[in-house]
C-alpha cells in the first residue's frame, strides 16, 4: 500500500480534508453520525478544535472564526442544525470572511436518531449551497472545493453527509496541507456583520444575487458530473444513492450531482433531452425531483418508485427499475431481539427501576438513559428533543390536577451533557414560573451515548486538557432552586425515599445524581455471585435488565447466574433480590 493511500470513513476523510484545506478552527457538538469528524480533527495540531455545549454555540464560534478570516469547520448531526438554525439563517446574510463549512450528518433510516429530516431543505431555506459527497475520497476532496466556493461566493456551505457516507470506509488518496494566504485579523465592517434592519435590508438582495451566480457556477463545476453510457435510462442522483445506482444499473447514464443546491438547470435539461427515460433517485425528500419538475422537465420515475422514508439499496433500485428481484430466503422468524441496553454497572439502571416501581410519568431526554424507554424497563413516556424533558414536565405539571395519584405525577430525567446543551434554560423557565415538578439530572460526567466525549462537566476539553468541571448543584441553586437533593444511584432505598419526598412537595425539586459513567471511566468492582441454594428463580433480579444476569436451567433446577466477565459489582441486582441470594 502506497504511503498516501488510506482506508478512511467519510468522517475521517472530512477531517483529513479540512486539515489539507488549511482550516484553522473547528467546533461541534457530538451527535451520531457526525461525532468522529471532530474526534479526528483534534489529532491535527494545526487546527484548533473544541466541543461546544450545543450546536448553536458551535456555529456561533465558527462565525467568529470566519469573520476573523480563518477557514472554519462546524459539524453536527441533522437535528443539530435545528438548534443552529437561528445563527445559520442570518449567517446567510452576513456571509463569511474565511470559508465556513457546516457539516450536517443526516440519518436516513434513523439508525440513531429521533427523526429522519432531510437537511438539504435547509440549503434552499437559508439560500446557501449544499454539497453532497458520495464516498470517502469525495468527502475529503469536496471539502477544498466547498471552502473555495464559500470564499468566492461569500456564503457558508452546507456539507451534507448521511450515515452511509459518514460511516462507510473506502480508499482515499491523501494530499498535503495548504496554508491559506489570507490574514487572520479583525477588520470592522459593520454593514456586513451587524445585522440591524438597515444593514440586513442591504444584504438580502446580495443573497438573492448570490443564488443566481451559484446557479451559473453549478452548470460548470466538476462537482456535477455526467457519465454517459447507454441512453435508454438516465438517472439523476446524489450522495450514497449514486453508489447504489452504479451497482444496480451499470448500463444507465448518470448525472451525479455533488452540488445539490442550487441546481444546474441547463445541465439537467440537456441530460434529460439525451436519455429516453429519466429517473430521479434520491433518499429522503423529493428535493431535486420537485425542483426539476418545476423546470418543466419530464420525469418518468422518482418518488413513485422510491420511498420518502429510510435508506435505498442497490437491490431495491434494481427491483424497482428492472423488476429483477434477487432470490432471497426469508429471515428466520420469531427470534428474540437484541436491543441495546444499559451497560452492566450503569448508574441509570437503579433510577429507572425505581421510576418504574413508582408508576410516575417520566418525561425523558436524549442520551444513554433514553434506553430506559425500552423493554423490560419501559420507564420513559415522552422524549422529543435535546433539553425538552424539564420543559415538557413543567408543562404537564401545570395542567394536570394535583393529586396523590402517582400515575399523574411527572419526573423529568436529563443527562449532564443534555442539561448543558439546552436543559439549563428549561430548568430556568420551570423555577421562574413556580413549577412544582421534579427534575433529575443524571450527571455521569460524559456525553455517553455518542461514545463518551468530554463536556463542560467532565473537567477536560476535546484534546484532553484540564478544564473547569461545572458544579451542577451550585449552578441549580444559583437559579433560585431551594430543594436540591443528591442521591446515590447504587442505593435503591435512597432513590425511592428521596423521589417520594420530592413528589410530595409543592415546590420544585432538582435531584442531582453524581455517578461517573462506568464504561467511560472503566469503573469496576469485584463481580457478584448467586448462591444457588438461596436462589428461588423468582426472576425478580432479571427485571433490572442487566446483561450479566441470566437464568440457568439444570434438569429440574433453575437459578440465576452472573457472568463474572460482565459483572462490575454495582449491586443493584443484590438489592432487588428478596432472598439475599446475591453477594460477593
Amino acid at each position: 500500500m502506497s504511503e498516501n493511500k488510506a482506508i478512511l470513513s467519510g468522517n475521517e476523510a472530512i477531517a483529513r480534508g479540512v486539515w489539507e484545506a488549511g482550516v484553522r478552527l473547528a467546533s461541534a457538538y457530538p451527535g451520531t453520525p457526525s461525532t468522529e469528524i471532530l474526534e479526528n480533527v483534534k489529532n491535527y495540531k494545526d487546527i484548533y478544535s473544541e466541543w461546544a455545549p450545543n450546536e448553536k454555540v458551535a456555529l456561533e464560534v465558527g462565525i467568529g472564526s470566519s469573520i476573523a478570516g480563518a477557514r472554519t469547520l462546524v459539524t453536527m448531526k441533522h437535528v443539530g442544525i435545528n438548534v443552529a438554525a437561528d445563527p445559520l439563517f442570518t449567517l446567510s446574510y452576513t456571509g463569511v470572511n474565511g470559508g465556513l463549512l457546516l457539516v450536517s450528518a443526516d440519518d436516513p433510516a434513523m439508525h440513531s436518531s429521533q427523526n429522519e429530516q432531510d437537511n438539504r431543505n435547509y440549503g434552499r431555506f437559508a439560500k446557501i449551497p449544499v454539497i453532497e459527497p458520495s464516498d470517502s475520497q469525495e468527502c475529503k476532496d469536496f471539502v477544498a472545493t466547498a471552502l473555495e466556493l464559500s470564499e468566492k461566493f461569500d456564503t457558508p456551505v452546507l456539507y451534507r453527509t448521511t450515515t452511509r457516507t459518514s460511516h462507510s470506509k473506502s480508499i482515499v488518496i491523501l494530499g498535503k496541507r495548504t496554508e491559506q494566504p489570507g490574514k487572520v485579523e479583525l477588520v470592522k465592517d459593520m454593514p456586513k456583520y451587524t445585522m440591524l434592519p438597515v444593514s440586513a435590508k442591504k444584504r438580502h438582495p446580495l443573497v438573492e444575487e448570490r443564488i443566481v451566480k451559484l446557479k451559473e457556477y453549478a452548470e460548470t463545476t466538476a462537482l456535477n458530473r455526467v457519465e454517459y453510457n447507454d441512453t435508454k435510462i438516465g438517472v439523476i442522483t446524489n450522495g450514497i444513492s449514486y453508489q447504489y445506482v452504479k451497482e444496480a444499473l451499470p448500463e444507465a447514464s448518470v448525472l451525479k450531482l455533488g452540488l445539490t443546491y442550487p441546481l444546474p438547470e441547463n445541465k439537467i435539461k440537456d441530460f434529460a433531452g439525451k436519455v429516453d427515460k429519466l429517473l430521479i433517485i434520491e433518499e429522503g425528500d423529493p428535493f431535486f425531483e420537485d425542483q426539476i419538475k418545476v423546470m418543466g422537465v419530464k420525469v418518468d420515475h422518482g418518488k413513485d418508485l422510491f420511498p420518502l422514508e429510510g435508506e435505498l439499496s442497490a437491490a431495491f433500485i434494481e427491483a424497482q427499475v428492472n423488476g429483477v428481484v434477487a432470490e432471497v430466503k426469508d429471515a428466520a422468524p420469531g427470534l428474540p431481539g437484541r436491543p441495546p441496553a444499559f451497560c452492566p454497572g450503569c448508574s441509570h439502571r437503579g433510577i429507572f427501576w425505581i421510576l418504574k416501581k413508582l408508576k410516575v410519568f417520566v418525561s425523558g431526554d436524549i442520551g444513554c438513559y433514553t434506553l430506559g424507554a425500552l423493554p423490560p424497563i419501559s420507564a420513559m413516556h415522552a422524549c422529543v428533543c435535546m433539553g425538552a424533558s424539564i420543559s415538557m414536565g413543567h408543562g404537564m405539571a401545570k395542567v394536570v390536577e394535583n393529586s396523590d395519584d402517582m400515575t399523574q405525577k411527572v419526573v423529568s430525567v436529563i443527562g449532564d451533557s443534555t442539561f448543558f446543551h439546552s436543559g439549563m434554560t428549561s430548568l430556568l423557565n420551570a423555577i421562574y414560573n413556580k413549577s412544582s415538578s421534579v427534575a433529575m439530572i443524571l450527571d455521569n460526567r460524559t456525553t455517553g451515548m455518542t461514545g463518551g466525549q468530554e463536556n463542560p462537566g467532565s473537567g477536560r476539553t476535546l484534546d484532553g486538557e484540564e478544564a473547569i468541571a461545572v458544579d451542577i448543584p451550585a449552578l441549580v441553586r444559583a437559579f433560585g432552586i431551594k430543594n436540591v437533593v443528591k442521591i446515590d444511584p447504587y442505593n435503591l432505598v435512597d432513590i425511592e425515599d428521596k423521589l417520594k419526598l420530592a413528589l410530595a412537595s409543592d415546590e420544585m425539586t432538582v435531584i442531582v445524581v453524581e455517578a461517573p459513567c462506568v464504561l467511560r471511566y472503566r469503573i469496576s468492582h469485584p463481580p457478584l455471585k448467586v448462591d444457588p441454594e438461596k436462589c428461588t428463580a423468582c426472576k425478580r433480579c432479571l427485571t433490572v435488565s442487566c446483561n450479566a444476569l441470566s437464568l440457568e436451567e439444570k434438569g429440574d433446577d433453575s437459578f440465576v447466574v452472573i457472568d463474572p466477565n460482565m459483572c462490575v459489582g454495582c449491586g443493584i441486582c443484590a438489592q432487588v433480590c428478596k432472598f439475599d441470594a446475591i453477594g460477593k
Partner: protein, 194 residues
Amino acid sequence: METTNILLAGVGGQGVLLASQIFTSVAIEADLDVKQSEVHGMSQRGGSVTSHVRFGDKVFSPTIDPGEADFLIGFERLETLRNVHCLKPGGTIIYNSMRINPSTVAAGVAEYPDDVAAQIAAFGEKTFEVDGLGLGQQAGNPRSSNVVMVGAVSSFLSLPEALWEEKIRQLLPPKLVDLNLKAFHLGREAVKGK
C-alpha cells in the same frame, strides 16, 4: 476479481469492527478496491452489530444486500441465525458457536431458541461451526475469538497468509500480537480439510 461480500454479525463489544478492519486492510494491501460499512451509535451497549466488507476490482455500494453475501461470519449463534437470509445461494456460513443472551432473554421476557445450530445448518449448504471461545481461550484470551473467526475465514480466501499476519501485527497493540496470531492460526486450522 469479482466482488467478494463478507457480512460480519455479532454483539456490541465482541470486536466485530476490529475483525472488519483486518479484512479491509488485507484487501487494500492486495491492491483491491475495498468498502466497509457499519452503523455506530445505538448498536453499542450489547445490541446487535453487523459490518459489511466488500472487495474486488471496483466496488460501488458499501453495503451488502440480502441474498448477496458470499460469506456470513457469525460471532455469536443467534446473530448468525438473524442474518442467514443475507447469504447468497451457495454461500458459506462460518460461525462462532458461543451464546450471548440478549437483554430481553436475560430479563426473562424472551427465550433463546434451543435449536439455533440446526436452523443455521438448514439454511446454508456450506456451514462451519467454530468453537471461537474455546480456541480463543486456547490462544490465551477468550476475547481473541474475533481473530479466531478471521483465521477461519482466511482459509477460504486466496490471499497470502503472510499478509494476514502482517496486518494483525499492525492493527493490534504489540503486547497482544502473539496471542492474536495464535488465535488466527487456530481458527485457520479449525476449518481446514472440512
